[in-house]
Amino acid sequence: MTAPILEVRGLSAGYGPLRVLHDLDLTVEAGERVGIVGLNGHGKSTLFRAIAGLTDWQSGSVCIRGAEVGGSRSQGPGRHTHRIVRKGLALMPQGDAIFPGLTVREHLDAGAYTSLAWRERARRRDRILEIFPPLARLMDTPVGRLSGGERRMVSLGRGLMAESALLLVDEPSLGLAPKISKAVVEALMKIDLQDGAMLIAEQNLTLLEGRVTRLLGMHAGRLKGGGSVVLPGRHVGGGA
Protein backbone atom coordinates (compact mmCIF):
# COMPACT_ATOMS: atom_id res chain seq x y z
CA MET A 1 0.00 0.00 0.00
CA THR A 2 1.41 3.33 -0.95
CA ALA A 3 1.94 5.92 1.71
CA PRO A 4 -0.86 8.43 2.06
CA ILE A 5 -0.19 11.74 0.41
CA LEU A 6 -0.60 13.63 3.63
CA GLU A 7 -0.49 12.28 7.14
CA VAL A 8 -0.83 14.60 10.07
CA ARG A 9 -0.60 13.18 13.58
CA GLY A 10 -1.22 15.03 16.78
CA LEU A 11 -0.46 18.45 15.33
CA SER A 12 -0.55 21.22 17.87
CA ALA A 13 0.09 24.71 16.61
CA GLY A 14 -0.33 28.15 18.00
CA TYR A 15 0.91 31.66 18.26
CA GLY A 16 2.77 32.21 21.48
CA PRO A 17 0.59 31.23 24.42
CA LEU A 18 -2.50 30.95 22.25
CA ARG A 19 -3.13 27.49 20.88
CA VAL A 20 -5.05 27.29 17.65
CA LEU A 21 -4.80 23.64 16.66
CA HIS A 22 -5.23 20.96 19.26
CA ASP A 23 -3.87 17.50 18.55
CA LEU A 24 -4.99 17.25 14.97
CA ASP A 25 -5.08 13.98 13.06
CA LEU A 26 -5.62 13.92 9.33
CA THR A 27 -4.88 11.45 6.57
CA VAL A 28 -5.38 12.11 2.89
CA GLU A 29 -4.96 9.31 0.37
CA ALA A 30 -4.06 9.57 -3.27
CA GLY A 31 -6.91 10.58 -5.54
CA GLU A 32 -8.97 12.13 -2.73
CA ARG A 33 -10.51 15.54 -2.74
CA VAL A 34 -11.08 16.50 0.86
CA GLY A 35 -13.03 19.53 1.94
CA ILE A 36 -12.55 21.22 5.30
CA VAL A 37 -15.40 23.42 6.30
CA GLY A 38 -15.47 25.79 9.20
CA LEU A 39 -16.00 29.33 10.30
CA ASN A 40 -13.38 32.01 10.23
CA GLY A 41 -10.80 31.86 12.91
CA HIS A 42 -11.17 28.21 13.74
CA GLY A 43 -7.88 27.13 12.38
CA LYS A 44 -8.26 26.11 8.74
CA SER A 45 -5.64 28.53 7.49
CA THR A 46 -3.40 27.77 10.44
CA LEU A 47 -3.55 24.10 9.56
CA PHE A 48 -2.49 24.75 6.00
CA ARG A 49 0.20 27.17 7.00
CA ALA A 50 1.50 24.75 9.59
CA ILE A 51 1.74 21.96 7.02
CA ALA A 52 3.61 24.32 4.69
CA GLY A 53 5.91 25.46 7.44
CA LEU A 54 4.79 29.08 7.42
CA THR A 55 3.57 28.90 11.02
CA ASP A 56 5.39 27.43 13.96
CA TRP A 57 3.91 24.28 15.36
CA GLN A 58 4.84 22.81 18.66
CA SER A 59 4.19 19.09 18.60
CA GLY A 60 3.05 16.30 16.36
CA SER A 61 4.21 15.19 12.96
CA VAL A 62 3.47 15.94 9.34
CA CYS A 63 4.37 13.51 6.57
CA ILE A 64 4.02 14.26 2.88
CA ARG A 65 4.16 11.12 0.77
CA GLY A 66 5.73 9.30 3.66
CA ALA A 67 8.54 11.81 4.08
CA GLU A 68 8.57 13.54 7.43
CA VAL A 69 8.36 17.29 7.15
CA GLY A 70 10.02 18.61 10.28
CA GLY A 71 8.50 21.23 12.50
CA SER A 72 10.11 24.63 12.35
CA ARG A 73 10.31 24.90 16.06
CA SER A 74 12.60 27.69 17.00
CA GLN A 75 13.93 28.38 13.59
CA GLY A 76 11.61 31.03 12.42
CA PRO A 77 8.47 30.42 10.40
CA GLY A 78 8.90 30.24 6.70
CA ARG A 79 12.53 29.33 6.72
CA HIS A 80 11.97 25.83 5.41
CA THR A 81 8.85 26.45 3.39
CA HIS A 82 10.61 26.32 0.06
CA ARG A 83 12.07 22.95 0.93
CA ILE A 84 8.72 21.62 2.09
CA VAL A 85 7.16 22.89 -1.12
CA ARG A 86 9.73 21.02 -3.17
CA LYS A 87 8.72 17.79 -1.49
CA GLY A 88 5.49 17.93 -3.42
CA LEU A 89 3.25 20.53 -1.84
CA ALA A 90 1.46 23.45 -3.40
CA LEU A 91 -0.29 25.91 -1.12
CA MET A 92 -2.61 28.46 -2.63
CA PRO A 93 -3.00 30.74 0.37
CA GLN A 94 -5.75 33.00 1.50
CA GLY A 95 -5.18 36.34 -0.14
CA ASP A 96 -3.33 34.89 -3.09
CA ALA A 97 0.28 35.89 -2.27
CA ILE A 98 0.78 37.33 -5.74
CA PHE A 99 3.66 39.42 -7.01
CA PRO A 100 2.06 42.73 -7.93
CA GLY A 101 4.64 43.81 -10.48
CA LEU A 102 5.03 40.56 -12.40
CA THR A 103 2.87 39.61 -15.34
CA VAL A 104 0.59 36.61 -15.46
CA ARG A 105 3.04 34.73 -17.64
CA GLU A 106 5.84 35.41 -15.16
CA HIS A 107 3.65 34.20 -12.33
CA LEU A 108 2.99 30.93 -14.06
CA ASP A 109 6.67 30.60 -14.88
CA ALA A 110 7.54 31.25 -11.26
CA GLY A 111 5.36 28.34 -10.29
CA ALA A 112 7.45 25.95 -12.37
CA TYR A 113 10.25 25.62 -9.89
CA THR A 114 11.63 22.21 -10.73
CA SER A 115 13.99 22.00 -13.69
CA LEU A 116 11.61 19.62 -15.46
CA ALA A 117 8.71 21.99 -14.98
CA TRP A 118 10.81 24.93 -16.15
CA ARG A 119 11.78 23.15 -19.35
CA GLU A 120 8.23 22.34 -20.28
CA ARG A 121 6.70 25.45 -18.88
CA ALA A 122 5.13 26.50 -22.16
CA ARG A 123 3.16 23.27 -22.39
CA ARG A 124 2.08 23.51 -18.79
CA ARG A 125 1.05 27.12 -19.23
CA ASP A 126 -1.24 26.05 -22.05
CA ARG A 127 -2.75 23.44 -19.78
CA ILE A 128 -3.46 26.05 -17.13
CA LEU A 129 -5.09 28.22 -19.75
CA GLU A 130 -7.37 25.33 -20.57
CA ILE A 131 -8.42 25.16 -16.96
CA PHE A 132 -8.77 28.94 -16.57
CA PRO A 133 -9.62 30.32 -20.00
CA PRO A 134 -10.06 34.00 -18.94
CA LEU A 135 -6.33 34.23 -18.33
CA ALA A 136 -5.46 33.77 -21.98
CA ARG A 137 -5.90 37.40 -22.92
CA LEU A 138 -4.24 38.67 -19.72
CA MET A 139 -0.90 36.96 -20.09
CA ASP A 140 1.14 40.16 -20.21
CA THR A 141 -0.74 42.24 -17.69
CA PRO A 142 0.85 42.88 -14.30
CA VAL A 143 -1.16 40.93 -11.79
CA GLY A 144 -1.41 43.90 -9.50
CA ARG A 145 -3.92 45.37 -11.91
CA LEU A 146 -6.21 42.38 -12.18
CA SER A 147 -9.53 41.89 -10.46
CA GLY A 148 -10.04 39.60 -7.51
CA GLY A 149 -11.31 36.64 -9.51
CA GLU A 150 -8.54 36.90 -12.07
CA ARG A 151 -5.96 37.09 -9.31
CA ARG A 152 -7.42 34.01 -7.72
CA MET A 153 -7.10 32.18 -11.00
CA VAL A 154 -3.49 33.30 -11.38
CA SER A 155 -2.67 32.13 -7.87
CA LEU A 156 -4.31 28.75 -8.43
CA GLY A 157 -2.70 28.37 -11.83
CA ARG A 158 0.69 29.17 -10.36
CA GLY A 159 0.24 26.45 -7.79
CA LEU A 160 -0.68 23.92 -10.47
CA MET A 161 2.36 24.52 -12.64
CA ALA A 162 4.64 22.26 -10.68
CA GLU A 163 2.17 19.35 -10.72
CA SER A 164 2.62 18.75 -7.04
CA ALA A 165 1.23 15.72 -5.30
CA LEU A 166 -0.63 17.65 -2.64
CA LEU A 167 -2.65 20.78 -3.36
CA LEU A 168 -3.81 22.86 -0.43
CA VAL A 169 -6.37 25.42 -1.52
CA ASP A 170 -7.24 27.98 1.14
CA GLU A 171 -10.66 29.57 0.68
CA PRO A 172 -10.95 29.69 -3.10
CA SER A 173 -14.15 31.68 -2.90
CA LEU A 174 -12.93 34.37 -0.50
CA GLY A 175 -13.92 37.82 -1.60
CA LEU A 176 -15.37 36.73 -4.90
CA ALA A 177 -18.82 37.22 -6.33
CA PRO A 178 -20.94 34.05 -6.22
CA LYS A 179 -20.84 33.46 -9.96
CA ILE A 180 -17.08 33.75 -10.14
CA SER A 181 -16.46 31.66 -7.06
CA LYS A 182 -18.64 28.95 -8.51
CA ALA A 183 -16.62 29.06 -11.72
CA VAL A 184 -13.35 28.90 -9.78
CA VAL A 185 -14.47 25.95 -7.70
CA GLU A 186 -15.79 24.22 -10.85
CA ALA A 187 -12.37 24.61 -12.42
CA LEU A 188 -10.74 23.19 -9.31
CA MET A 189 -12.99 20.16 -9.36
CA LYS A 190 -12.19 19.52 -13.00
CA ILE A 191 -8.48 19.14 -12.35
CA ASP A 192 -7.30 15.62 -12.87
CA LEU A 193 -5.59 14.60 -9.69
CA GLN A 194 -3.82 11.48 -11.01
CA ASP A 195 -1.82 10.33 -8.04
CA GLY A 196 -2.16 13.47 -6.08
CA ALA A 197 -4.69 14.81 -3.62
CA MET A 198 -6.43 18.08 -3.00
CA LEU A 199 -7.41 19.64 0.28
CA ILE A 200 -9.82 22.56 0.08
CA ALA A 201 -10.67 24.79 3.03
CA GLU A 202 -13.89 26.67 2.61
CA GLN A 203 -16.43 28.57 4.61
CA ASN A 204 -19.14 27.97 2.09
CA LEU A 205 -20.39 24.39 2.46
CA THR A 206 -22.69 24.47 -0.54
CA LEU A 207 -19.82 25.00 -2.95
CA LEU A 208 -18.19 21.74 -1.92
CA GLU A 209 -21.16 19.54 -1.17
CA GLY A 210 -21.37 16.48 -3.32
CA ARG A 211 -18.19 17.28 -5.19
CA VAL A 212 -15.59 16.15 -2.70
CA THR A 213 -14.64 12.68 -1.63
CA ARG A 214 -14.72 13.58 2.03
CA LEU A 215 -15.94 16.49 4.05
CA LEU A 216 -14.48 17.42 7.42
CA GLY A 217 -15.54 20.07 9.84
CA MET A 218 -13.09 22.27 11.68
CA HIS A 219 -14.22 23.79 14.92
CA ALA A 220 -12.03 25.51 17.51
CA GLY A 221 -8.93 23.85 16.14
CA ARG A 222 -10.26 20.33 16.11
CA LEU A 223 -11.31 18.28 13.11
CA LYS A 224 -14.60 16.51 13.29
CA GLY A 225 -16.23 14.00 11.03
CA GLY A 226 -14.57 11.07 9.44
CA GLY A 227 -16.84 9.32 7.03
CA SER A 228 -20.08 11.12 6.87
CA VAL A 229 -21.15 14.69 6.79
CA VAL A 230 -21.87 16.24 10.15
CA LEU A 231 -25.35 17.67 10.13
CA PRO A 232 -27.12 19.10 13.17
CA GLY A 233 -29.15 16.52 15.09
CA ARG A 234 -27.18 13.48 14.06
CA HIS A 235 -24.24 12.01 15.93
CA VAL A 236 -21.23 10.46 14.35
CA GLY A 237 -20.42 6.99 15.70
CA GLY A 238 -17.31 6.05 17.56
CA GLY A 239 -16.11 8.91 19.61
CA ALA A 240 -17.04 9.35 23.24
Binding site: H82, F99, P100, G101, Y113
Partner: protein
Protein backbone atom coordinates in the same frame (compact mmCIF):
# COMPACT_ATOMS: atom_id res chain seq x y z
CA UNK B 1 31.00 76.47 -24.68
CA UNK B 2 33.78 74.21 -25.74
CA UNK B 3 33.75 72.46 -22.46
CA UNK B 4 30.31 71.05 -22.99
CA UNK B 5 31.21 67.71 -24.59
CA UNK B 6 33.84 67.22 -21.96
CA UNK B 7 31.35 67.97 -19.22
CA UNK B 8 28.81 65.70 -20.85
CA UNK B 9 31.30 62.87 -21.11
CA UNK B 10 32.43 63.21 -17.52
CA UNK B 11 28.84 63.40 -16.46
CA UNK B 12 27.90 60.21 -18.23
CA UNK B 13 30.97 58.42 -16.91
CA UNK B 14 30.20 59.42 -13.37
CA UNK B 15 26.55 58.58 -13.87
CA UNK B 16 27.50 55.13 -15.10
CA UNK B 17 29.71 54.44 -12.11
CA UNK B 18 27.30 55.81 -9.53
CA UNK B 19 24.51 54.01 -11.30
CA UNK B 20 26.28 50.69 -10.79
CA UNK B 21 26.52 51.35 -7.08
CA UNK B 22 23.08 52.80 -6.67
CA UNK B 23 21.34 50.01 -8.55
CA UNK B 24 23.10 47.54 -6.31
CA UNK B 25 21.88 49.31 -3.19
CA UNK B 26 18.38 49.64 -4.61
CA UNK B 27 18.11 45.98 -5.54
CA UNK B 28 19.39 44.89 -2.14
CA UNK B 29 16.85 47.07 -0.39
CA UNK B 30 13.88 45.98 -2.40
CA UNK B 31 14.65 42.29 -2.54
CA UNK B 32 16.16 41.74 0.86
CA UNK B 33 14.83 44.65 2.85
CA UNK B 34 18.32 45.51 3.99
CA UNK B 35 20.25 48.77 3.75
CA UNK B 36 23.73 47.70 2.83
CA UNK B 37 26.07 50.22 4.41
CA UNK B 38 28.93 47.87 3.75
CA UNK B 39 28.71 48.51 0.02
CA UNK B 40 31.57 50.95 0.42
CA UNK B 41 33.64 48.21 1.97
CA UNK B 42 32.80 45.99 -0.99
CA UNK B 43 34.00 48.80 -3.20
CA UNK B 44 37.31 49.12 -1.36
CA UNK B 45 37.85 45.39 -1.19
CA UNK B 46 37.25 45.01 -4.91
CA UNK B 47 39.82 47.67 -5.57
CA UNK B 48 42.33 45.63 -3.62
CA UNK B 49 41.17 42.48 -5.33
CA UNK B 50 41.87 44.05 -8.70
CA UNK B 51 45.22 45.25 -7.46
CA UNK B 52 46.14 41.77 -6.27
CA UNK B 53 45.10 40.34 -9.60
CA UNK B 54 47.27 42.90 -11.35
CA UNK B 55 50.20 42.12 -9.08
CA UNK B 56 50.11 38.37 -9.05
CA UNK B 57 48.17 37.22 -12.06
CA UNK B 58 48.46 39.52 -15.03
CA UNK B 59 48.41 43.13 -16.04
CA UNK B 60 45.87 42.73 -18.75
CA UNK B 61 42.70 44.80 -18.65
CA UNK B 62 40.17 41.97 -18.53
CA UNK B 63 42.07 40.24 -15.74
CA UNK B 64 42.04 43.36 -13.59
CA UNK B 65 38.34 43.82 -14.24
CA UNK B 66 37.69 40.18 -13.45
CA UNK B 67 39.70 40.45 -10.27
CA UNK B 68 37.64 43.38 -9.14
CA UNK B 69 34.31 41.79 -10.00
CA UNK B 70 35.15 38.49 -8.33
CA UNK B 71 36.40 40.22 -5.20
CA UNK B 72 33.21 42.28 -5.12
CA UNK B 73 31.00 39.22 -5.49
CA UNK B 74 32.86 37.41 -2.71
CA UNK B 75 32.57 40.42 -0.47
CA UNK B 76 28.85 40.59 -1.16
CA UNK B 77 28.41 36.95 -0.23
CA UNK B 78 30.36 37.50 2.99
CA UNK B 79 28.18 40.44 3.95
CA UNK B 80 25.07 38.42 3.21
CA UNK B 81 26.28 35.56 5.35
CA UNK B 82 27.02 37.77 8.33
CA UNK B 83 24.29 40.34 8.29
CA UNK B 84 21.38 38.90 6.36
CA UNK B 85 21.25 35.18 6.98
CA UNK B 86 21.28 35.26 10.79
CA UNK B 87 18.88 38.15 11.09
CA UNK B 88 16.35 37.99 8.29
CA UNK B 89 13.51 36.54 10.28
CA UNK B 90 14.30 38.10 13.61
CA UNK B 91 12.44 41.09 15.00
CA UNK B 92 13.68 44.56 14.17
CA UNK B 93 15.50 43.16 11.16
CA UNK B 94 15.94 46.35 9.17
CA UNK B 95 17.72 48.39 11.84
CA UNK B 96 19.76 45.45 13.04
CA UNK B 97 20.97 44.50 9.60
CA UNK B 98 21.93 48.10 8.87
CA UNK B 99 23.98 48.25 12.02
CA UNK B 100 25.49 44.87 11.24
CA UNK B 101 26.60 46.13 7.84
CA UNK B 102 28.07 49.22 9.47
CA UNK B 103 29.97 46.99 11.86
CA UNK B 104 31.23 44.91 8.94
CA UNK B 105 32.37 48.02 7.15
CA UNK B 106 34.20 49.21 10.25
CA UNK B 107 35.91 45.88 10.82
CA UNK B 108 36.57 45.45 7.14
CA UNK B 109 38.22 48.79 6.54
CA UNK B 110 40.41 48.31 9.58
CA UNK B 111 41.40 44.88 8.33
CA UNK B 112 42.24 46.32 4.93
CA UNK B 113 44.30 49.01 6.62
CA UNK B 114 46.10 46.41 8.64
CA UNK B 115 46.68 44.04 5.74
CA UNK B 116 47.66 46.47 3.01
CA UNK B 117 48.92 49.47 4.90
CA UNK B 118 47.76 53.06 4.63
CA UNK B 119 49.57 53.91 1.38
CA UNK B 120 47.41 54.12 -1.66
CA UNK B 121 47.79 51.69 -4.52
CA UNK B 122 47.42 52.39 -8.18
CA UNK B 123 45.68 50.16 -10.64
CA UNK B 124 47.01 49.65 -14.15
CA UNK B 125 45.06 51.31 -16.87
CA UNK B 126 42.44 48.88 -18.00
CA UNK B 127 41.56 50.49 -21.28
CA UNK B 128 44.97 51.59 -22.35
CA UNK B 129 46.16 55.10 -22.94
CA UNK B 130 44.59 55.71 -26.29
CA UNK B 131 42.19 58.43 -27.24
CA UNK B 132 39.24 58.55 -29.56
CA UNK B 133 38.66 61.48 -31.83
CA UNK B 134 35.16 62.58 -32.49
CA UNK B 135 35.21 65.57 -34.75
CA UNK B 136 37.08 68.22 -32.75
CA UNK B 137 36.60 66.59 -29.42
CA UNK B 138 39.06 64.17 -27.90
CA UNK B 139 37.71 61.47 -25.63
CA UNK B 140 40.13 59.62 -23.42
CA UNK B 141 40.03 55.86 -23.60
CA UNK B 142 39.31 55.30 -19.96
CA UNK B 143 36.15 57.39 -20.00
CA UNK B 144 34.86 55.76 -23.14
CA UNK B 145 35.82 52.37 -21.82
CA UNK B 146 34.11 53.04 -18.53
CA UNK B 147 30.89 54.09 -20.17
CA UNK B 148 30.93 51.20 -22.57
CA UNK B 149 31.70 48.59 -19.93
CA UNK B 150 29.13 49.84 -17.47
CA UNK B 151 26.48 50.05 -20.15
CA UNK B 152 27.20 46.54 -21.33
CA UNK B 153 27.28 45.09 -17.83
CA UNK B 154 24.13 46.90 -16.79
CA UNK B 155 22.31 45.71 -19.84
CA UNK B 156 23.50 42.16 -19.27
CA UNK B 157 22.38 42.31 -15.66
CA UNK B 158 18.98 43.67 -16.53
CA UNK B 159 18.62 41.07 -19.26
CA UNK B 160 19.54 38.37 -16.80
CA UNK B 161 17.08 39.74 -14.24
CA UNK B 162 14.21 39.71 -16.68
CA UNK B 163 14.84 36.52 -18.59
CA UNK B 164 16.50 33.93 -16.42
CA UNK B 165 14.95 31.78 -13.75
CA UNK B 166 17.25 33.20 -11.10
CA UNK B 167 16.33 36.72 -12.07
CA UNK B 168 12.66 35.85 -11.90
CA UNK B 169 13.19 34.43 -8.44
CA UNK B 170 14.89 37.62 -7.33
CA UNK B 171 12.12 39.79 -8.69
CA UNK B 172 9.49 37.57 -7.11
CA UNK B 173 11.22 37.82 -3.78
CA UNK B 174 11.36 41.57 -4.14
CA UNK B 175 7.62 41.73 -4.33
CA UNK B 176 6.35 39.08 -1.95
CA UNK B 177 8.73 36.96 0.11
CA UNK B 178 6.00 34.66 1.40
CA UNK B 179 4.63 34.06 -2.06
CA UNK B 180 8.16 33.36 -3.24
CA UNK B 181 8.63 30.72 -0.54
CA UNK B 182 5.43 29.06 -1.71
CA UNK B 183 6.86 28.54 -5.19
CA UNK B 184 10.00 26.95 -3.94
CA UNK B 185 12.16 30.07 -3.89
CA UNK B 186 14.46 29.89 -0.93
CA UNK B 187 15.03 33.30 0.58
CA UNK B 188 18.52 32.49 1.78
CA UNK B 189 19.84 31.07 -1.45
CA UNK B 190 18.35 33.87 -3.50
CA UNK B 191 19.79 36.41 -1.08
CA UNK B 192 23.27 35.04 -1.71
CA UNK B 193 22.73 35.43 -5.42
CA UNK B 194 21.49 38.99 -5.04
CA UNK B 195 24.43 40.00 -2.90
CA UNK B 196 26.90 38.31 -5.19
CA UNK B 197 25.54 40.08 -8.26
CA UNK B 198 25.34 43.49 -6.63
CA UNK B 199 28.79 42.98 -5.15
CA UNK B 200 30.10 42.24 -8.60
CA UNK B 201 28.53 45.45 -9.89
CA UNK B 202 30.20 47.40 -7.10
CA UNK B 203 33.48 45.69 -7.94
CA UNK B 204 33.21 46.80 -11.53
CA UNK B 205 32.49 50.33 -10.36
CA UNK B 206 35.56 50.20 -8.13
CA UNK B 207 37.87 49.21 -10.96
CA UNK B 208 36.39 51.82 -13.28
CA UNK B 209 36.62 54.59 -10.71
CA UNK B 210 40.11 53.62 -9.70
CA UNK B 211 41.29 54.69 -13.09
CA UNK B 212 40.98 58.21 -11.78
CA UNK B 213 41.38 57.74 -8.05
CA UNK B 214 43.61 55.42 -6.09
CA UNK B 215 42.79 52.35 -4.08
CA UNK B 216 42.96 52.85 -0.33
CA UNK B 217 41.24 51.34 2.69
CA UNK B 218 38.97 54.29 3.13
CA UNK B 219 38.22 54.68 -0.55
CA UNK B 220 34.84 53.13 -0.08
CA UNK B 221 33.33 55.91 1.93
CA UNK B 222 32.75 58.54 -0.70
CA UNK B 223 31.35 56.13 -3.26
CA UNK B 224 29.08 54.69 -0.58
CA UNK B 225 27.67 58.09 0.25
CA UNK B 226 27.29 58.97 -3.40
CA UNK B 227 25.69 55.61 -4.16
CA UNK B 228 23.33 56.01 -1.22
CA UNK B 229 22.19 59.46 -2.21
CA UNK B 230 21.70 58.42 -5.81
CA UNK B 231 19.66 55.43 -4.67
CA UNK B 232 17.74 57.71 -2.31
CA UNK B 233 17.06 60.25 -4.99
CA UNK B 234 15.96 57.59 -7.39
CA UNK B 235 13.77 55.95 -4.84
CA UNK B 236 14.94 52.87 -2.99
CA UNK B 237 13.77 49.92 -4.96
CA UNK B 238 13.41 51.43 -8.37
CA UNK B 239 16.03 50.60 -10.96
CA UNK B 240 14.76 53.09 -13.49
CA UNK B 241 14.68 55.79 -10.85
CA UNK B 242 18.24 54.99 -9.85
CA UNK B 243 19.41 55.34 -13.43
CA UNK B 244 17.68 58.68 -13.88
CA UNK B 245 19.00 59.92 -10.55
CA UNK B 246 22.51 58.75 -11.44
CA UNK B 247 22.33 60.75 -14.62
CA UNK B 248 21.16 63.86 -12.77
CA UNK B 249 23.82 63.56 -10.10
CA UNK B 250 26.50 62.87 -12.66
CA UNK B 251 25.53 65.95 -14.62
CA UNK B 252 25.50 68.05 -11.47
CA UNK B 253 28.89 66.83 -10.42
CA UNK B 254 30.53 67.33 -13.77
CA UNK B 255 28.96 70.74 -14.27
CA UNK B 256 29.86 71.98 -10.81
CA UNK B 257 33.38 70.66 -10.99
CA UNK B 258 33.99 72.42 -14.26
CA UNK B 259 32.21 75.69 -13.72
CA UNK B 260 32.21 76.30 -9.98
CA UNK B 261 35.06 74.31 -8.55
CA UNK B 262 35.51 70.97 -6.89
CA UNK B 263 34.64 71.98 -3.35
CA UNK B 264 31.08 72.88 -4.23
CA UNK B 265 30.26 69.53 -5.78
CA UNK B 266 28.74 67.95 -2.74
CA UNK B 267 26.81 71.07 -1.95
CA UNK B 268 25.12 71.28 -5.31
CA UNK B 269 24.42 67.59 -5.29
CA UNK B 270 22.85 67.95 -1.91
CA UNK B 271 20.80 70.84 -3.02
CA UNK B 272 19.49 68.78 -5.89
CA UNK B 273 18.68 65.86 -3.65
CA UNK B 274 16.86 67.91 -1.10
CA UNK B 275 14.88 69.56 -3.85
CA UNK B 276 13.94 66.20 -5.36
CA UNK B 277 13.07 64.66 -2.02
CA UNK B 278 10.99 67.59 -0.91
CA UNK B 279 9.03 67.40 -4.11
CA UNK B 280 8.79 63.60 -4.06
CA UNK B 281 9.52 62.15 -0.63
CA UNK B 282 9.90 58.68 -2.07
CA UNK B 283 12.39 59.61 -4.72
CA UNK B 284 11.97 59.80 -8.45
CA UNK B 285 11.07 56.20 -8.86
CA UNK B 286 8.84 56.06 -5.87
CA UNK B 287 5.86 56.58 -8.06
CA UNK B 288 7.24 54.83 -11.12
CA UNK B 289 6.80 51.30 -9.94
CA UNK B 290 5.74 49.36 -6.92
CA UNK B 291 8.19 49.61 -4.10
CA UNK B 292 8.57 47.23 -1.23
CA UNK B 293 6.96 49.49 1.31
Amino acid sequence: MADLPFVALSAITLAAIYGLLAIGISIIWSSLGMINMAHGFTFALSGYGAWLAAQYLSDAGPMVLAGGIVAGALSGVLICAVSFLPLHDKPNFVVRSMIATLAISLIGSQCLLWAFGPRVKALPKVFGEGTVEFGEVVFTADKVGAIATSAVVLLLTLFWMTRSRRGLEIRAMMQNPEGAALVGIGVRKTALWVMAVTGGLAGLAAVLLSQTFFVSPGSGLQPLVKGLIVALCGGLGSIRGALIAALLIGITEAATATYLGGQYVLMTQFGLIIAVLLARPRGIGGLLDETRE
